[in-house]
């Protein structure tokens, strides 16, 4: 985050969402929001606070519980001169409009031979750790990664929320923007006006020499905590915040592994089909000669997310689990 110039104040990740959207709405009158309870109610996660008041009902639209209509309408609008920002309340509900995310939005440009563009953002509250149970807790960036034609963004800090929101809304390509529920309350330096973080640029959030930790969204603080833990034991871990899965900044990852020769990937999604598998497979191919140890992935267990928080901790990646893997690799 070297490019973030703090304005002196701090802001929560939650506030940063609304702030990021508001800045773009001020800049560009074609940016319009739609979603369930986002207007006068200001969003069930309070991530659209102030928008309805500032921009009114012609720019901020409450919808029925109709995920297909929300995202389908966003697509039709995006094809005809609007830049819609559609909210899907919980990322689990992307499954209810998956046809649009998997088959329509990402393919229409290609299958029309480039006749149309679809500049839209689908924002969604993602991830677990809050006791919301199996159907309101999933981290599903990996679902989106499996679909060519979607840009996939998942910020870990308030400033990145603002900077990546700007880049996402300005992007002429469709973006799925994952806001992590577990990070909403977290605070960080505010971003200056005009702050834009380009899509596809990972950040080395902690430099280190011994092991590379690759993380995304909620797992960035987990990886950083693990790095602090092992630092006390003399292991110097580098932490890479991917920020985006598409475009995927493998340059930064391969460069880091080239220096550390060891890789641990920290993912919130289940191990099977997780995004880290794609990163690992690229490193096991293109970075093979750098590797001095097995590539490890600390992901969620391959079960639905349980309700009880004590059980959730068994399933999800934790700093302890990451630290244990780092130690194993360092000792390899």
């Amino acid at each position: 985050m070297a490019d973030v110039t703090a304005t002196g104040g701090t802001i929560t990740y939650r506030e940063a969402v609304a702030e990021g959207i508001a800045r773009e709405m001020r800049r560009d009158p074609t940016v319009v929001c739609l979603g369930e309870d986002i207007g006068a109610a200001e969003g069930v996660f309070k991530t659209t606070v102030g928008l309805f008041k500032e921009f009114g009902p012609r720019r901020v639209w409450d919808t029925p519980i109709s995920e297909q209509a929300i995202v389908g309408a966003a697509m039709g609008a995006a094809m005809t001169g609007i830049r819609p920002v559609a909210e899907i309340m919980f990322s689990d509900f992307l499954a209810c409009c998956w046809d649009y995310l998997a088959n329509e939005i990402p393919k229409v440009r290609y299958m029309t031979g480039g006749q149309v563009t679809v500049p839209l953002v689908v924002r969604t509250a993602n991830g677990g750790g809050l006791g919301f149970g199996a159907q309101h807790s999933q981290a599903v960036e990996n679902w989106a990664l499996a679909v060519p034609g979607l840009k996939v963004v998942a910020p870990s800090t308030p400033a990145d929320v603002i900077g990546l929101m700007a880049a996402s809304i300005r992007s002429d390509d469709p973006v799925v923007f994952f806001e992590h529920k577990g990070l909403f309350a977290s605070k960080g330096p505010a971003a200056p006006e005009g702050h834009v973080v380009p899509l596809g640029a990972a950040a080395v959030v902690r430099p280190g020499a011994d092991v590379t930790l690759v993380a995304l969204a909620s797992t960035v603080p987990v990886a950083l905590r693990a790095a602090e833990t092992v630092a006390a034991e003399g292991i110097d871990a580098e932490v890479v915040d991917l920020r985006c899965l598409v475009p995927l900044d493998m340059h930064t990852v391969l460069d880091s592994v080239g220096r550390t020769s060891r890789l641990v990937i920290v993912e919130e999604n289940p191990y099977q089909g997780g995004w880290g598998a794609t990163v690992a497979s690229i490193v096991a191919d293109e970075g093979f000669e750098s590797l001095d140890a097995p590539v490890r992935r600390v992901a969620a267990a391959c079960v639905p997310l349980p309700f009880a928080d004590s059980l959730e901790q068994v399933v999800l990646p934790t700093a302890d689990k990451v630290a244990a893997e780092v130690r194993r690799l360092a000792a390899y």
């Binding site: 309870d37 519980i65 391959c302 639905p304 309700f307 009880a308 928080d309 059980l311």
Partner: protein, 334 residues
């Protein structure tokens, strides 16, 4: 005109039973709220206080082997079908004795052995499931009936449409019960729905009969449900029942419900299903002290449930890695 407890009419006795069930649900909901405020309930809860008459009235029209599918706002349906307040509260409090071993939580209360086949937290998703359970009954040659409870907001999602059409075409024994509490989360249903009665007004689109009823009067609900269940059981196909009701609390635990006009809240609180039932009981000649005795018994039962749930052991961490597969395990690879 009142009568001693042991001389009540059949109708009065029956209604008193429903009143007691509603009171148990109300007591459990209040307990859940208190436990949440005390920090003992994590995650989220969606209380059904105010909507008890729908659950109890419909359940009264069902047989033990019928099927029920509910939503994340499903405490009342679970209890009405026989889940104990203790097991429900234990689930909310992440105890090993929870109804779902603390793996489901408030949004997924399930009591399969009582035909209560789950609470689903993706709006509308369970309507096709209920259709499938009804289909299964006809395939197996039983005369079981399936009921789907859902909110007004659920009528705008695609699964609603697909479920009603399939049920109608296959003429299945399913009853669609919409609990129209006037709001989706914080948005008035009228502002996002093309018709005034979101379920009942759509029934003709599937050539289905519909009833629009007072969902706060357990007797009205029971009677409408009995008609619909009877139609289903005797091969008459599905019915849509839209029960107008109101939730006493906000949408979920974090919602103070300030978007609702005070006047509207006041009116509906005055029509509390428990008050409506007490009124009916008194008109049936049931003495106040009989009702008070019931209230006392319920209070004790709920208090005991709270104590027992509190005293229960926490969820077993090993349970996190069981129950994915039918063999009980979670192994996905060799």
């Amino acid at each position: 005109m009142t009568a001693p407890a042991d001389q009540l009419t059949g109708a009065a006795t029956e209604l008193l039973g429903w009143y007691e069930q509603m009171a148990v649900i109300r007591g459990t909901e209040k307990a859940a709220q208190d436990l949440f405020l005390a920090g003992l309930v994590k995650g989220t809860t969606h209380l059904a206080a105010g909507q008890e008459a729908v659950a109890v009235g419909v359940s009264a029209a069902l047989r033990a082997d019928d099927y029920v599918f509910a939503t994340y706002r499903g405490h009342h349906h679970a209890i009405a079908r026989g889940a104990s307040p203790e097991a429900c509260l234990a689930e909310l409090m992440s105890r090993a004795t929870g109804l779902c071993k603390a793996k489901g939580g408030s949004m997924h209360l399930t009591k399969a052995d009582a035909g209560m086949l789950g609470s689903y937290a993706i709006v509308g998703s369970h309507l096709p499931m209920a259709v499938g359970a009804a289909w299964s009954a006809t395939l197996r040659g039983t005369d079981q009936v399936a009921v789907a409870f859902f909110g007004d907001g659920a009528t705008n999602i695609g699964a609603f449409h697909e479920a009603l059409n399939l049920a109608a075409v296959w003429r299945l024994p399913v009853v669609f019960v919409c609990e129209n509490n006037l709001y989706m989360e914080y948005t008035p249903i009228a502002s996002v729905t093309a018709v005034p009665n979101p379920a009942a007004d759509r029934a003709p689109a599937y050539r289905l009969p519909a009833e629009l009823i007072d969902g706060n009067d357990v007797v009205v609900v029971r009677d409408a449900a009995a008609r619909a269940v009877d139609r289903a059981r005797t091969g008459g196909g599905p019915t849509v029942v839209e029960a107008r009701t109101y939730r006493h609390f906000g949408h979920s635990r974090t919602d103070p419900g300030t978007y609702r006009p005070a006047e509207e809240v006041r009116e509906w609180l005055a029509r509390d299903p428990l008050a409506v039932a007490r009124d009916r009981l008194s008109r049936l000649g049931v003495p106040d002290d009989v009702v008070s005795t019931v209230d006392g018994r319920v209070a004790e039962l709920v208090a005991a449930a709270v104590s027992a749930a509190k005293a229960a052991p926490p969820a077993d961490p090993a349970e996190a890695l069981t129950d994915v597969w039918a063999d009980g395990g979670a192994q996905w690879r060799t």
